[in-house]
């Protein structure tokens, strides 16, 4: 990505966010009592101020982006940004969603064991055996610390129950 693209995309995104906040999000999702005497004390005041500043910052970014030369070279090479990289990233997103689904059902220990192994293989580890051993041990050690030393009620799930 060139500097110009970065600035323009961020600027447009910030303006869009500011418009969304001002037109939809703040009126619908911020409630304010009807008897607020002064606007500056209203719960709406601060979000509107921030939305306004976000819009102005976005405008500044767009202007700065337009000022950048179109033929600016990319400040960093992105050779690895191809199909497999995007697929790995999508895979990680799926793992995170599955983790959220599995945490209350399988328990934290089992879920994190699976997540550890899956992530290690997703990043193409050169030590698969070590990865599997660590996938078993790390969650158990952390469970031991948090459940028995820190007194945290780690979710146990419906499959296995640890002491």
């Amino acid at each position: 990505m060139t500097e110009r693209q970065v600035q323009l995309r961020l600027g447009v995104g910030a303006i869009a966010m500011a418009l969304f906040l001002a037109a939809i999000a703040i009126p619908n999702w911020v409630s304010s009592p009807s008897n607020v005497g002064n606007i500056v004390l209203s719960p709406l005041f601060w979000p509107y101020v921030l939305a306004g500043f976000a819009g102005l910052t976005g405008l500044g970014l767009v202007i700065a982006g337009l000022r950048e030369a179109a033929q600016d070279p990319a400040p960093e090479t992105d050779d690895h940004a191809h199909g497999p990289a995007w697929r790995r990233l999508a895979g990680m997103a799926v793992f995170m969603l599955l983790t959220m689904y599995a945490l209350p059902r399988l328990g934290m220990v089992l879920t994190t064991m699976l997540l550890f192994a899956a992530t290690a293989f997703l990043v193409r580890t050169r030590h698969p055996v070590t990865a599997v051993i660590c996938a078993l041990l790390v969650p158990l050690v952390l469970y031991g610390f948090f459940a028995h030393v820190a007194g945290v009620a780690i979710p146990q799930g419906e499959v296995i129950r640890l002491p």
Binding site: V6, P43, P47, R88, T99, L122, L142
Partner: protein
């Protein structure tokens, strides 16, 4: 309470093996965390934070301070040995450290880095002890209008100096401020962006946001490019730093330490600009200035003194005013809050034993840093050989346990994942995450103090300029904005791609 009484109270709090052991372990974790490229001192402090929940407040905070101190030094090890700074603050160390390593004098460079770091650390800690109490007693007269102007000034600096683009820094800070509005309104108790979900009513969990912003993006970056971390480690060589080297660089070390103390005590500037300023001052005044950049030992000393001089000084605004000086102190402020402590001027009255306990711990931490650092220099090879593609999944699992442990709430894990993706997008678009996090912490304080001031005055805005303290902070805010805008306009006139501030 006299100084000696306070000191005795502090000593009684930390005068046990548990506290010093926590500090020592913290320094070890910090040095290792800082030495692993891509891990950073910030991530090390963030990942250690959940382990402090079960500890006494002073023990937990000393553990984190140990990680902080160790992490700042640890970052210099990969900077010298593999030309990859473990922390942004170590970027200046590369300039002369790596050429020395290429000449087979890595051991000498690392030794000087350690000696300079420890010297700067002691100076910085003494500055903290001398100035924090004085500043806190001054800040006792602050009311909501004074705090509002102080926080506004801090935010201006943070947004202005925390990246290679002012506008991206400002956008990051605005996102943090917006995220901080989620939850029940502090005055009227009405909902703001809670969508009726009880999990959102208390606002987003600070630990989930910070781990999401600083640890998860590194994991996603590894997923995106699994081989980005591969680097070649240089051997230590046979030459070691001598006392003559140290004596020759002493002036630069002391100057760098004072630069670090000065810049560190201003919220938001951080260690990297301090290291570069210290380096450039050393180069400007040195007899060997032509050797700088080619492997000058004084250059390593100046950079390390600059970045370590910040470490104690960033705690001055944290302890005295309750305003974090940089990202790591922003995390440490979270640790204070989790343990029911509110840093700020009142802490010097209500928890003076903790304050002096921390001072004692910080002085001892310099000694521990010297001991651990000496071993770490020789042991770096083993740290560098840790397979990162095993380490990263372990960090992910640790993040999940740590974030869950704050409130025993799976929702927080979801917040961490979501913030991780936000952080990754910010990383891709080169938006600095530091202003986001600091604004997320300062946002509620800013709004709270503003609204309290308005309630006090019956909505009369002149209360915000009611006295010399508010005038001072308004003047500083205006001066900062003018300086930033002038720098921006200058860069604009010179043309695109020029005149950017160094990366923080």
């Amino acid at each position: 309470m006299s100084f000696l009484d306070s000191l005795a109270a502090g000593l009684s709090l930390v005068g046990n093996i548990e506290a010093f052991l926590a500090l020592f372990i913290g320094v070890v974790i910090g040095v290792i965390g800082g030495a692993i490229p891509g891990m950073s001192a910030t991530m090390a402090v963030a990942l250690t934070l959940p382990f402090t929940f079960a500890m006494q407040p002073i023990t937990g905070i000393l553990l984190l301070l140990g990680v902080y101190k160790g992490g700042i030094f640890g970052g210099s090890i990969p900077a010298i040995l593999i030309k990859t700074p473990g922390t942004p603050a170590s970027s200046a160390t590369i300039l002369d450290g790596y050429p020395l390593a290429e000449r087979g004098e890595a051991g000498r460079a690392l030794g000087m880095a350690l000696w300079a770091s420890c010297t700067a650390d002691v100076i910085s800690n003494l500055a903290l002890i001398l100035f924090a109490g004085w500043l806190a007693s001054f800040a006792l007269s602050f009311g909501p209008p004074e705090f509002f102007t102080l926080i506004l000034f801090s935010l201006t600096i943070i947004a202005g100096v925390s990246g290679d683009s002012l506008l991206r820094g400002a956008l990051s800070a605005l996102l943090g401020l917006l995220l901080a509005t989620i939850g029940l309104d502090l005055v009227y108790g009405t909902n703001r962006f809670t969508f009726g979900d009880p999990n959102m009513m208390g606002g987003l969990n600070f630990i989930a946001v910070l781990i999401g912003l600083f640890a998860i993006p590194e994991i996603l970056a590894m997923v995106w490019h699994p081989t980005a971390h591969v680097g070649k480690t240089r051997s230590l060589g046979k030459n070691w730093v001598s006392f003559a080297d140290y004596r020759r660089s002493f002036k630069s070390i002391v100057r760098g330490s004072f630069i670090g103390v000065f810049l560190g005590s201003i919220p938001g500037i951080g260690a990297a600009p301090s290291a570069f300023l210290s380096y450039s001052e050393a180069r400007r005044t040195s007899k060997n200035r032509e050797n700088f950049g080619k492997g000058e030992i004084e250059g390593v000393a100046a950079s390390e003194a600059g970045n370590n001089g910040v470490a104690g000084a960033t705690l001055i605004p944290l302890l005295a005013l309750g305003v974090p000086g940089d990202v790591i102190t922003a995390i440490i402020i979270g640790a204070f809050m989790i343990h029911g402590l509110q840093p700020g001027p009142m802490m010097f009255i209500l928890n003076v034993d903790i304050i002096y306990g921390l001072f004692i711990g910080l002085i001892v931490s310099s000694l521990f840093l010297f001991m651990v650092g000496s071993v770490a220099i020789r042991g770096f090879k083993y740290v560098a050989d840790l397979p990162r593609r095993i380490l990263i999944p372990a960090v992910l699992v640790l993040c999940i346990y740590g974030v869950f442990a704050v409130n025993n709430n799976i929702f927080d894990v979801g917040v961490m994942f979501a913030m991780g993706w936000v952080g990754f997008v910010m990383m891709r678009y080169r938006v600095p995450p530091a202003p986001f996090l600091i604004a997320f912490i300062l946002g509620p304080l800013l709004e709270d103090n503003f609204r309290q001031a308005m309630l006090m005055s019956g909505s009369d805005p002149t209360i915000l300029i009611r006295g010399p303290i508010t005038w001072f902070f308004w003047a500083m805010t205006v001066v900062t904005i003018v300086a930033i805008v002038r720098a921006g306009v200058g860069a604009f006139r010179r043309g695109p791609g020029r005149g950017r501030a160094p990366e923080a």
